[in-house]
Symmetry: C2
Subunit: 463 residues, 2 copies
């Protein structure tokens, strides 16, 4: 059963076997472990990675290789004997192989592709021709197709003859003589059918397929809504090109959510685990956005410069600046996350912008009113206890603070909600409109809103 052996115990056993340098006992040990534990061992023992891969049965080597980090994968390919590299690459599921190749320099890709057998080479080259992040890049050719004019008996014979090396044998795909997809049929249905039955009698034509150029994120939605473990992929002429399996979609979903989150926090996507990314690379991923935001925030210093005389005359105004601009930033951050998240799962499309805007205007007014009232109350109540603090015009100061809060919160919800939609419209990634990005925009306008209300209420009194 899984996880029976703890990882330290595993490491200890492994160390002993490496010390003994008995290759065959090491191989037995490795082939007995779960694939995920083997992958863990490779991660922890980079210097022994090649030994481990060479000790494994080739299918298991491929299974471990595909779940390794890119850096470990590169290390292995660079150090493996050419013969073993060829075996490994040919055994690797085509989608995982393509995912690995697309990260390598062109020259290395050319060299490695030469090692593939003709069929795998043809499939891989076709796959690299589809756009990045498309369904085509996620396909595998590891499936069995049968023709619709066969009998069940012929199908079962075909499965017995060619099924041994196929991983995804749970669903068999039915195509016509032109190679066009007709339907998918579960292997159990063939098993449960009389042998003389014709395949075309078994199909109901209710087959969901992905298009080869579809976005990978849309595949996630299709899997979510349809209870399938694999989906066939077709081109414009409905010719079947491959299948996408749900475990790859789960993998993509995990990665895309990670990227979205990181962007929303105001960092470039890391592409590597946090604890493993070199610290200078981590710095680079963060500093660019931080500088961009900083340059944006500099506008606040410029804006403040315009109001320097007012602050000089009424220092009390300065006290509420952090409170007001942060409230705008917070409401903007709420709105932008809600909208980016809803767009990511397909709940909001660009044409919904007006419905979103209407909702955010109402939300912004409600939220702003609540904060405005609390802000006004704070000034008035404090003035009773500390009469010197806000002076005799505390009511007007309170009104300026209260109305400014209403204004900046409304401004925050509108900016936060519309920016992701606008970014998507111009072809950018909505997740870029991160909380810090929205906050920066709202900070500058928030100052203008605040000093405008201050003029309105305090002109002739303090200003």
């Amino acid at each position: 059963m899984s996880n029976e052996v703890s990882q330290p115990a595993l490491q200890k056993q492994f160390d002993e076997l490496v010390r003994e340098s008995d290759r065959s006992r090491l191989a037995d040990f490795l082939n007995y472990q779960n694939i995920s534990d083997v992958a863990w061992l490779i991660d922890e023992n980079e210097e022994d990675a090649v030994t481990i891969i060479c000790g494994l049965e080739i299918q298991r080597a491929a299974g471990a290789f595909k779940i390794l980090d890119l850096s470990a994968q590169k290390h292995i390919i660079q150090h493996l004997p050419p013969q073993k590299t060829a075996e490994l690459l040919n055994e690797l599921p085509s989608d995982d192989r393509t995912a690995f190749l697309e990260e390598l320099p062109n020259e290395a890709v050319r060299e490695l592709i030469k090692l593939l057998n003709p069929e795998e080479r043809r499939f891989t080259l076709a796959q690299l021709g589809y756009p990045e992040e498309s369904v085509g890049r996620l396909m595998t050719n590891d499936y069995l197709a049968v023709e619709d004019d066969w009998t069940v008996l012929e199908v079962l014979d075909h499965i017995r003859a060619f099924g041994k090396d196929i991983d995804n044998l749970d669903v068999i795909y039915v195509v016509n003589r032109q190679g066009q997809l007709v339907d998918d049929v579960r292997i159990r249905d063939f098993l449960l059918s009389p042998p003389e039955r014709m395949v075309h009698e078994m199909v109901d034509g209710r087959c969901i397929a992905l298009h080869v150029r579809d976005d990978q994120e849309s595949a996630n939605q299709v899997f979510k809504m349809n209870n399938r473990v694999a989906l066939p992929v077709i081109d414009d002429r409905k010719v079947m090109l491959g299948i996408v399996t749900i475990d790859d979609v789960l993998w993509v979903a995990n990665e895309e959510f990670s990227e979205d989150m990181q962007k929303m926090g105001g960092t470039e996507a890391l592409d590597e685990p946090y604890l493993e990314i070199p610290i200078l690379k981590l710095f680079k991923k963060r500093v660019v956005w931080l500088i961009v935001l900083f340059l944006g925030e500099m506008l606040t210093a410029t804006a403040m410069g315009y109001y320097e005389a007012e602050i000089q005359r009424a220092v009390v105004l300065a006290l509420f600046i952090p409170l007001i601009i942060s409230s705008g930033g917070n409401s903007g951050s709420q709105a932008s996350t809600l909208i980016i998240q809803a767009m990511a799962v397909g709940e909001i499309k660009m044409q919904d912008w007006w419905r979103v805007m209407r909702r955010e205007i109402i939300s912004g007014l409600l939220l702003g009113t609540v904060l405005g009232i609390i802000g006004f109350a704070r000034v008035v109540v404090w003035s009773q206890f500390f009469p010197d603090m806000y002076g005799i015009h505390y009511r007007e100061v309170g009104a300026a603070v209260g109305f400014s809060l209403l204004g900046v919160v409304l401004q925050g919800t509108l900016t936060g909600s519309m920016l992701p939609i606008i970014l998507k419209k111009v072809g950018a990634d909505p997740a870029v409109s991160s909380a810090p990005f929205v906050a920066t925009i709202v900070d500058v306008t928030g100052l203008v809103i605040y000093f405008s209300f201050a003029f309105l209420f305090l002109k002739g009194l303090l200003l």
Copy 2:
């Protein structure tokens, strides 16, 4: 093929059939569509939801029901005739049924459970006994188990006899006489084996299983690392209780990421699609956190109050307040998202806190130095063009600004990175340490840092 009929066309056809009120033609139409399209129709035509469900074959009705929103599900159950409700609930996969029941009031659950047949009732009651968000709640009993002392022939006969109603027949589970899980075997392996072979000769004991009380998020990790479409679930004594299928894990992953994102944006998890949640509910989900943050931010007004006299004497100090506190907020937001995200996917565990802290101290010093230098340069350069703006002590003002930036950025990265770990340690959800939450903490301390450096550099000059 999927998506051939556009949704408006689908709606039009549906409207016509409803007008004709020919039940049997409507049923034919509905049974021909993809399940996801039927679910879409139900969503768009709430008043006809019951008609649609009654028109569908019962398996398809269950398939559509389980992907509907909770509100649509409730509507249907409230309006469906009792006989049909019983059929539907019994047909529903047990995990989806439990997911639905756990959202209902206790009394309704009691009534509905009475409608289940004895076997389903027993399983559902057991399932409701496991903690929320545990693997147990995600299980289904829709699988086939065989015993390890059977022959392949006996297994195939068993499959033929009982396989018809089982959805997850691609993998067959092998248990011993005590019901303890021995292994999982693909149906294709039985198909490819000689009939007289014993089951226990086919098992290799390398079977990954989930524990019934494991967290659902950990199941995501196990699926990601092991190429399976379903995993068996066992209890402490290794007795097999059910299976979890990968499509449910994908569903859970999508929901959990949505919740995490919303929390990180400073909102409670919505639990409903953005465009469908009633606006007052949306307001409620947002206002609580916004008020909490606002009350926190009020401390900035208090802190500013302490420095009122200094601002009076050196108004120039006020100009950089938004810039400095926002920079702390931005770096904190970066750090907290990185850490929350890495914790969500299991890359960082609590015991890694020191490694994280070391990385964030270095990152904070680097990032802070960069922003500090830019900030200092900004003050000095501006002073050359606008000599009046920052006065004759512009170098000292620049130094105060620069060192404060270094301080707040370091403070931001430390707060942002440690807070999620501390929250997890005390049993709270790390995602609560949202960008706005971190920003609020950093704002207050940022002011203190800024005025401390101002004292240091400007004492005797401006202050």
